[in-house]
Amino acid sequence: MNGEELQEIVEREGARQAALRHRVGVCAAAGCLSLGSEQVKAALVRGVEEAHLGAEVEVFGTGCLGLCEAGTLVQVESRQPDGHVCRCLYERVDAARAATVVRQHLVGGTPLAEGQLQLTDPFFALQHKVVLQGSGVSDPERLESCLAAGAYQALQKVLTELRPADVIAELTASGLRGRGGGGYPAGLKWSTVHKASGPRKIVICNADEGDPGAFMDRSVLEGDPHRVLEGMAIAGYAVGAEQGYVYVRGEYPLAISRLKTALKQAERLQLLGHRIFETGFNFRIDLRIGAGAFVCGEETALIASVEGRRGTPRPRPPYPAVSGLWGLPTLINNVETFANVPEVIRGGGQAFAAVGTERSKGTKVFALAGKISRTGLIEVPMGTPLRQIIFDIGGGIPGGKAFKAAQTGGPSGGCIPAQHLDLPVDYESLVQVGSFMGSGGLIIMDETSCMVDVAAYFMEFCRDESCGKCVPCRAGTVQMHALLQKLTRFEGSEADLAQLEELAELLKATSLCGLGQGAPNPVVSTLRYFRDEYLAHVRERRCPAGVCKGAAPPVLAAAGAGVAP
């Protein structure tokens, strides 16, 4: 494959699409799939066949269309006689409605009056898509469709026009920071690996999205896997690596299967493998599948797991950039970071940096979930105020309930109360209010959620997921969880609160890795903002949210009490 051949495929696919009257995209991401999107797609295909529209209508599965809550989502792009393309997005489509869409819209040419989402709605209008650009545009299982949407063009540019140092300079100019949570400048990391000496170098994509309540990386891998592979190949060229690994969670079977398909397709056209774009650059990517260990999201634990060992972290330095997989200099970034790379190359670092805040550039993908009207996947410029994300894009809290807290950063993050709703969301501001960007899970809680119970939930998570290597985390999470349970049983005292705070300091200061260091964060942040609730559990032996019942059920079983009607 060379540039001309790529262009040929792009043009052929473009012409094919232009000849169609309607392109019907059915959301085939995990959310809609679980609501039956496969049956919807089958009904559409059947309807199109029966109407003999096969030549003018294409029905395909797309990446996440965003608004999971209104699934199954179906997008119809219709080409008007004047060449203009008009786009309709149908919500809550089932097989019966799919038949109506075929009859009225595809055959009759009139879009359905009801059941359509307005694309001018803030949910769509306030978003800014970079990473999710391809989701909904291309069919993640057809390479031609992805190529027509621009896949691998940045890689071609890099290999034929830029030197590795130019790529790193561009990335540095973009201000892109690691999207896995820590926010380490990507340009700096790449240049460290570029300069490191070793017989070989490795690129690893961290797709071990372990935070409960986060599904951004999953959606990117399912909706646009080639974008991630392209980002990795560009990284390989920039740092001088010929081997890459994607370490993906075992809990994501669909993402794994789409990645496998994408890898095969890219290898067949020599977009990966030997002599890519007929240059001297070789880059191979292999999949490594995790087996359910949260700690493997930590980079040194992940490396141990790729090596086929127990996923336990080790002290840093040396950092993986110097000594990583098998002691070789290793670049590790997460899915979303790599997915941003093609855009940095295409548009240039300066243009990328035009979006966002002073220190946090570009966009961030968030998974909106919990007690919020519009659950789903969104991408907004860095610095968008929390209030806008929750109330304008997310549609606020359902059932007339009051907002209580937004949880970011998963089990290492914190709960942000109403008084900080006007906070522009970026790396620094979240840390300032005691939380953490994390990978982008944003879970909204209303007045029926008990913050002591939530703290106990996260501590139980960390207790179970602690790898056991270092004592502060192994023993500390057990002690902290026991104290929190005492509180939810109304058996706690104010001395217990003091002890919790003391242990929180200890874990933070002395744990080996981010899991133990971050484990106290949910406790610390809820104690900081919702101390009243803790005190009600201690002094008045009651739970203001009505979740904790005072008996001694395990935390997980007690959750039922907190369900909204």
């Binding site: 679980s34 999971c68 087996a291 979930a369």
Partner: protein, 167 residues
């Protein structure tokens, strides 16, 4: 002596070991592919018995302690046989705040099992997952391999009822 590892097959003649051999060959008997091999073995056998672990260890030339250590470290590997059907309740944060605990409590009381256990007739295993990444349609439950969103206590029990009734 046999060529690398256990390519001579397993004395029991169980065909699944032949398929495991194929997976081992694909990984060229590299010891760092231990996780991949354990995934393959669990897919073939349903769980990792002592026999299978020993076989994998010999094939990859790894001490059994290492194989056992890895198999017990990761949540997705199971050393005990599972029921004919598995109902996995997601306990991710989004599902949790939307009442996943209630779904689990319903299953536990209706079928007399705790999370992580299998019913006495070996028909149903109830499992808890950390997060299946379907937070947009929480609460989510995985019935065998099929993911279902926006579940209720009643819908879960209805779905599982059929499994236990069938012989």
């Amino acid at each position: 002596m046999s060529a690398p590892g256990g390519s001579t097959g397993h004395p029991s003649g169980d065909k699944r070991f032949k398929m495991l051999d194929a997976a081992l060959r694909r990984q060229q008997y590299q010891s760092d592919a231990l996780l991949e091999i354990l995934h393959a073995a669990q897919e073939l056998f349903g769980f990792l018995s002592d026999d299978v672990l020993t076989y994998v260890g010999r094939s990859l030339k790894l001490p059994l302690s290492r194989v056992y250590g890895v198999a017990t470290f990761y949540n997705l590997f199971t050393l005990k046989p599972k029921g004919a059907h598995t109902c996995t309740v997601c306990m991710g944060t989004a599902c949790y705040v939307k009442g996943a605990g209630d779904l689990l409590a319903g299953l536990e009381s209706a079928h007399g099992v705790k999370a992580g256990q299998t019913t006495a007739d070996d028909q149903l295993s109830v499992v808890v997952a950390r997060c299946v990444g379907a937070c947009g349609v929480a609460p989510a439950v995985v019935f065998d391999l099929e993911l279902a969103g926006q579940q209720t206590r009643a819908s879960v029990l209805e779905r599982v009822k059929g499994w236990r009734a069938s012989p």
